[in-house]
């Protein structure tokens, strides 16, 4: 198994290499450059030209690429053009913000979706089931920005229960207890919104899995042994129904760093999604390429993680 995992990691290298070339070319194809946004009526065009030349943006793309990749493999993704900061530390800070937000959302998502999915499947066609279906289609149909704005208006603006933007109150020193508390406090509302919007998929998947598994032969065998119904559910039906959910777990874990563009923008939360959008609009090449490379790596890692998780929970699957 370890051999396979190492091999899968080695296989990622050529995949990431191809990805890096594609990203680099696509990023360069975008019209405009990092300095376009800086132009004001007073700017001397020769100054812009000077900056572009200095940044090496006038070189052919492959020269730029080689220069970039040589540094990137050493962990140096360059400086952000707009933030004037080291890309790695910029992403690291945003990634941490996004991680905590996503982490709480995913926990809330599963805490809501798994019980609802199981109950709807177990009592399928009951009033409870119909209520759950209504809930899940309602949250599925509602656009992200609508629910976010409604929540923001009600809980942030009207009731003033939660802050309406940012990731931490500026009055706290980093590292203090108040700072950590403030961070957590800022996460709650966006996390709940994010979680509610994501529940539909898990609920519907789990519900139909439970309904299918209920009719399986081995469940009939379990019932024929005379074990209590709740044990038939906990040991046979639910365990088997959770397999497909477990199959997505790897992607969910690595997806924690992806962030949500809508949620982060509306709640003014400085995370990865927001960084990604702003870096594209400001043509911040070094940030764009670094982020897409990171997402690519996470996707590959997610599929490997999913395979490993599946081989742990399902004895029929062995990584050889």
């Amino acid at each position: 198994m370890w051999k396979t995992i190492v091999r899968r990691f080695l296989l990622m290298i050529p995949q990431l290499f191809v990805l890096s070339i594609l990203i680099f070319i696509l990023a360069k194809f975008m019209p405009g450059d990092p300095f376009t946004g800086l132009i004001t009526p007073e700017t001397d065009p020769s100054r812009i030209e000077e900056l572009t030349e200095k940044a090496g943006l006038n070189d052919p793309w492959h020269i730029q690429y080689v220069r970039w990749i040589a540094r990137a493999v050493q962990g140096d993704f360059g400086m952000s053009y707009t933030f004037k900061r080291d890309v790695a530390s910029l992403i690291g800070e945003r990634a941490l913000n996004t991680f905590w937000l996503s982490f709480l959302s995913v926990i809330l998502l599963y805490a809501i979706a798994i019980p609802l999915g199981i109950l709807a499947g177990r009592y399928h066609n009951s009033r409870l089931d119909k209520t759950v279906i209504f809930y899940s289609f309602f949250t599925y149909a509602i656009p992200t920005f609508v629910l976010s704005l409604v929540f923001l208006y009600i809980f942030g603006y009207k009731l003033e229960w939660f802050p309406t933007s940012g990731s931490v109150d500026i009055k706290y020193e980093p590292g203090t207890l108040g700072y950590i508390w403030s961070k957590g406090y800022h996460i709650i509302l966006p996390a709940i919104t994010y979680a509610i919007l994501g529940t539909t998929g898990v609920i519907q998947y789990l519900r139909s899995e439970i309904i299918d598994t209920k009719a399986m032969d081995f469940v009939r065998t379990a019932r024929s042994k005379g074990i209590p119904t709740r044990k038939v559910y906990s040991k046979h039906i639910i365990r088997n129904s959770l397999l497909p959910i477990a199959a997505f777990l790897g992607f969910t874990i690595t997806g924690l760093l992806g962030g949500s563009i809508f949620i982060e923008t509306i709640f003014g939360y400085p995370g990865m999604g927001q960084l990604f959008v702003s870096s594209i609009s400001s043509r911040d090449y070094s940030v764009i390429t670094a982020l897409v490379m990171l997402y690519g790596f996470l996707t590959l890692l997610g599929s490997l993680l999913s395979d490993i998780i599946m081989s742990i929970v399902d004895p029929r699957i062995r990584i050889e």
């Binding site: 032969d217 081995f218 065998t221 379990a222 024929s224 042994k225 005379g226 074990i227 029929r316």
Partner: protein, 341 residues
């Protein structure tokens, strides 16, 4: 005589919901199972034999099934018990063996755990005793390496081994009745014989009564004591096994026996019964249900409300059409050829 009756089914009707109305898949079945007896229920696919078998211990979807009549076991009518009450009987007094042993075992649980499950709820054994009992059971059903097998998962075993495991589960609490629903259908022919032998051996050891559901008349002849033939939800003939094979009466039974390939005959074509079982929804509920498949027999030969008649001790036949039944065409070499349009 009455004391050795294990199970008595009286006028049982089992209906499934199709678009808000119920259609009976089992329609007025009465049966008795005695101690040490292997009662075979035969019939073609869709005749209701599996429905009957699984309904005895209530293994149906309650919201879409309607059950009427009596299933008497130990003075209790199983048809009226709740799921919790049935759980005290399932596995302990009445257990089941199913057709496909791969899908009938939980793919995520070790063999040992699956055998142990019933013991947890039906015995007061300690965990240690249960583990020992599991190994004992595995050995009893002829598994060579019980220690290793108990730690394996179903997909790691062969079909025959899995069915042995199913039998181990079924006999784990020494049940009075074992219901075997096509226990050998999914297995290789060589393995079939081994599993049947094992089933008979276990029955003789435990003294249980067995209800054997099958469509394989060879198996019936080999192991059964008594046979009930089902057609379209009804029992159309019931007799001791020898009597049935030597003196089949009902046209359906005769046609079934007739369609067994014969090694010593020179016919090129396999004898088949014309037509097929009408689907549940369009089943004729009045008159002889087999009449549509023997159209060359005159209408008056059938009873209006076909009943089971005891024509010799222990031999019951439904309807009166058997008295006039003949195969459709006789060929020159003495073998029958069935009616062809």
């Amino acid at each position: 005589m009455e004391t050795d009756v294990l199970l008595r089914i009286k006028d049982l009707h089992i209906g499934f919901r199709i678009n808000e109305s119920f259609y009976n898949a089992v329609d007025g079945v009465s049966l008795t199972l005695r101690k040490n007896e292997i009662l075979a229920i035969v019939g073609e696919s869709g005749c209701g034999k599996s429905t009957l078998a699984t309904s005895i211990i209530g293994l149906f979807d309650r919201s879409n099934t309607r059950i009427q009549g009596e299933i008497l076991f130990k003075n209790k009518n199983l048809a009226t018990l709740t799921e919790d009450q049935l759980n005290d009987i399932r596995g302990l007094d009445i257990s089941m063996i199913f057709q496909d042993p791969l899908s009938a075992l939980n793919p995520l649980m070790r063999i040992g755990e699956q055998i142990e499950e019933g013991l947890i709820y039906h015995t007061k054994f300690s965990s240690h005793d249960r583990k020992r009992k599991v190994l004992e059971l595995l050995k009893q059903v002829g598994i060579q390496n019980p220690n290793r097998v108990s730690r394996q998962f179903p997909h790691q075993l062969s079909g025959g081994m899995r069915q042995r495991v199913m039998i181990a589960i079924a006999i784990s609490c020494k049940p009075k009745i074992i219901i075997a629903d096509e226990p050998t259908t999914a297995l290789d022919v060589t393995i079939q014989a081994q599993i049947l032998d094992l089933l008979v051996e276990m029955q003789q050891e435990t003294g249980a009564g067995i209800i054997l559901i099958t469509h394989d008349l060879g198996i019936v002849a080999e192991v059964a004591n008594r046979v009930a033939v089902m057609y379209a939800g009804e029992i159309i003939e019931e007799a001791p096994v020898k009597e049935l094979f030597l003196y089949p009466k009902h046209p359906y039974t005769r046609s079934l026996l007739h369609s067994i390939p014969q090694m010593n005959s020179y016919t090129n074509r396999l004898n088949a019964i014309e037509g097929m079982v009408p689907s549940l929804k369009y089943l004729p509920r009045l008159g002889c249900r087999f009449s549509s498949r023997i159209p060359w027999i005159r209408k008056e030969a059938h009873e209006k409300r076909p009943a089971l008649h005891e024509i010799s001790p222990g031999h019951f036949v439904r309807c009166t059409c058997w008295k006039e039944f003949h195969f459709n065409k006789v060929k020159g070499d003495g073998t029958y050829e069935l009616y062809a349009n």
